[in-house]
């Protein structure tokens, strides 16, 4: 076996040194009647070539986004990632390192986490950010729990236009933690009233912008109402690139900002691994979940970085921890921070503008198709199309024509009654030809 360095001779010598006759003596504590002697339904070891063939066969049964005109978003976005990013995250010293609990030999990880935290804080216009969560949806769940800790209240209000998966993730967590959730119905066609549900029992109101339908939401009045009631505003985003062009939640009064960081530096990966962004105000930092890298000095006075405030964490605090999170998204955060460093303000702004331009062009083309309308007043790189009949059918028919045209809202929220809406995204990776092909195909399938 190519991965196992010990030879039969090595094993014999080692057994002799230990003083046992055979390796099974080392497994003596497993009850004899429970021991397994084989795995009869699993194949024996395979060569690299055989494994490649087996997996390539499975990969070949999928339609990669890059092979077709592609307009799927709804929480995960296809952007072009520079080759440098993937090269660098595969450096042995990044890829095969551990959580940086030994800072003397983990300054590489700790410094990029410190840089990542700064970038996330800057992007969201918040004061501090942590060193990443699993993804946007679980970060949203953690944000609600944190708001409960900060306000000592246990009821969250969720906007109706929150991504249904995020809503479900929060609801699941809250249900098992026995916390209350007020989830408003989706409101694709008009402005939602998020003020009325806020009272002094509410710990936080969770609002997404751009929301799941693509609308840009003015967070300021909601923040004001929340603050007046002693509640926090938790702002959510699923497309980090948007923040290059739209007003960040931190500038609109948000207290906790969580989002999906996948779209910067990370591939679609069929849903994971992704990277959750989590930012808040300095005063709440001791209630934050997750890891934090902090600056300090070493014994010789040189600047260095360590994981800090770990008394919030499970490995120190156990049942009193702010979260149970341990392994998070280190390498995805690295991809994010490298891509962001390459972009900088100049590149991010251009990227965001290119996305917005592509989406505006696509919206115009599709809205020109008879029977179809774009429901949004405003959007970034994703909008919602209203089609005659079943959105799910339209998407399937487009797929049969080789166009991945978006996500039927009904797939995310089957019993919402909103069966004629398609969420459509256009990034810089779409070409004019792609967009024209979409409009043409849409005309055909309707």
């Amino acid at each position: 076996m190519r991965y196992l360095p010990l030879t039969p001779e090595d094993r014999a010598e080692m057994l002799a040194r230990i003083g046992v006759a055979c390796v099974d003596e080392l497994f003596a504590d497993i009850p004899a009647d429970k021991r397994e002697t084989a795995l009869p339904h699993l194949a024996l070891h395979k060569s690299e070539l055989e494994v490649e063939r087996a997996l390539a066969r499975l990969a070949g049964q999928n339609v990669p986004a890059g092979s077709v005109p592609f307009f799927v978003g709804a929480g995960a976005y296809r952007h072009h990632v520079p080759a440098t990013v993937d090269h660098l995250i595969q450096r042995s010293e990044f890829l095969t390192s551990y959580t940086p609990y030994q800072p003397e030999i983990a300054q590489g990880t700790l410094q990029y986490l410190f840089e990542f935290q700064t970038q996330v804080a800057e992007l969201t216009t918040m004061e501090v950010a942590n060193a990443s969560m699993y993804d946007g949806s679980t970060a949203a769940g953690e944000a609600v729990l944190m708001a409960h800790r900060v306000t000592k209240r246990r009821k969250a209000v969720l906007a109706g236009n929150l991504h249904p998966h995020y809503r479900a993730t929060i609801e699941t967590l809250s249900r098992y933690a026995a916390d209350a959730v007020v989830a408003l119905p989706p409101a694709p066609f008009g402005e939602e009233d998020l003020i009325t549900p806020i009272d002094d029992t509410v710990s936080c109101v969770v609002v997404q912008s751009p929301d799941v339908f693509g609308n840009l939401v003015d967070l300021k009045p909601i923040a004001e109402a929340a603050h007046k009631a002693g509640a926090l505003l938790v702002a959510v985003f699923t497309e980090a690139v948007a923040l290059g062009l739209i007003e960040p939640p931190g500038a609109q009064g948000a207290d906790i900002v969580v989002g999906e960081g996948q779209s910067i530096g990370n591939a679609l990966n069929f849903g994971g691994p992704y990277v959750g962004l989590f930012a808040t105000r300095q005063k709440f930092v001791r209630q934050m979940p997750g890891r934090l890298a902090g600056e300090t000095v070493d014994a010789e006075g040189r600047r260095g970085f360590v994981l800090t405030l770990s008394t919030r964490e499970q490995h120190i605090r156990r049942e009193k921890a702010t979260s149970n999170i341990c392994t998070n998204s280190g390498l995805c955060a690295l991809a994010f921070t490298i891509h962001m460093s390459l972009l900088g303000k100049t590149g991010l702004t251009r990227l965001a503008r290119g996305n917005h331009a592509a989406a505006c062009d696509l919206a115009d083309r599709l809205a020109a198709v008879k029977g179809v309308s774009v429901i949004n007043d405003s959007f970034f790189n994703e909008f919602t199309l209203r089609v005659p009949g079943s959105a799910a059918d339209v998407v399937e028919k487009l797929a049969a024509r080789g166009i991945l045209g978006g996500v039927p809202y009904s797939r995310l929220a089957p019993r919402s009654g909103l069966d004629d809406l398609i969420l459509v995204a256009a990034t810089e990776t779409t070409t004019e030809d792609d967009r024209a092909a979409y409009a043409a195909a849409l005309k055909e399938v309707l």
Binding site: E93, F270, Q314, S378
Partner: protein, 494 residues
Amino acid sequence: LEEGLIFEIGRMEVTGVDIAEPAPFRDRLGTQARTAPLDLPGLSEPEAMRHYVRLSRMNYGIDSGLFPLGSCTMKHNPRLNEKMARLPGFADIHPLQPQSTVKGALGLMAELSRYLLELTGMQAVALTPKAGAHGELCGMMAIKAAHAARGDGATRHVVLVPESAHGTNPATAALIGYQVRAIPARADGTVDPEAVKSALGPEVAALMLTNPNTCGLFERDVVAIAEAVHDAGAYFYSDGANFNAILGKVRIADLGVDAMHINLHKTFSTPHGGGGPGAGPVVLSDALAPFAPVPALVATADGLVLVEDEGADGTELALGRMSAFHGQMGMFVRALAWMLSHGADGMRQASEDAVLSANYIRACLMDLMSAPFAERPAMHEALFDDTWLAGTGLTTLDVAKALIDEGYHPMTVYFPLVVHGAMLIEPTESESKASLDLFIAALRDLAMAAKAGDKERFLGAPYYAPRRRLDETRAARAPVLRWTKPAPVADAAE
């Protein structure tokens, strides 16, 4: 070896990405155009390459040397797996594409599930959890859901956790409102079934047990413990962190386990990546299978279908949704590549080699270092305490830091909490005998130096790392968690 922060070396007008400005168009941002400053400096591509290459060189990884981190299982990360995960058919597909366009992805998830179920003997697997702790959360939610369905959810509010458990266990239990009751270990380092029995009662929802446990021992009374738990109407949650020791050697279903998460990034070698991403699929017994979260993979007459809706047929009892989308696909590919590569024979051999190596290390060091519980065979970890340091004026931490100067990552220290000054060494199956012998020689040399009174070698260590010991107290007292622009220096004339 100094490298500035990107905020110090980057500049606002520089970018390492060429993107053309779009032709003029009417924007649809409404009132929401960004007005807030965006102080994100950019790096040209050569600058970025150098910055991150230099940072990487301050790190230690498995590829640098032996990584004896007990309970964390840092083993070889095959590059084949990285290559496979990057096939466009896996990396460049969207979780919400029509399912008709991702049949291979669903096939891969099904095959991974089959392997996990064969290796554990369990009935169902939930793939979505994103890491071990997230898997624990999923498993414990399933248990809570099962109690609720049975009608005793309100009364069962206690979870039993041995003192030696990982911190995630009590943290997870507490997160969903359980009260944690600790079970002490007996003298041999394992859990006493009698202690479990006396802690059980109608208020107990579950026992969380790591097996092999964090002392590196197989819980030899696990069957009796499981029976006691079940007799008391509770469920048996097993922490799968140490699954690497028993692949193909025992099926956890045969031990009475109701739920166990599997850290793909430990047992199946998806890379740790400086702290993640991981993946924590949870296997479930018959009793808990109906409560698995959505999305769930279902084999139908038309092929595999991913049921995403909690209200759909067959998912009425589902515990809900753990996160957006379907789980850590990138990790699934890597883990399956590892399993196919090893095969049934290689996986058994891997566990045997891991256990053999740990016992070998213990056998070669126990004359100089103190190894508690050494009357039992170790599993894949060798545990030492700090008794052997008595009178040297040195601590476990000093030994760990001195090991850095020998070219190694330190072992896990001060965990498990049940022995004093614990040092938990896990060599994994990835080391050659020559590598183990060098590591043993380094530790023997340190042990002799410690006993000989060479305190300086330890107290100042590490001497040969990118940094000497860092001031963690200062970091925590007034946390600096982000870069901020330095205040302008006052004019010299003032």
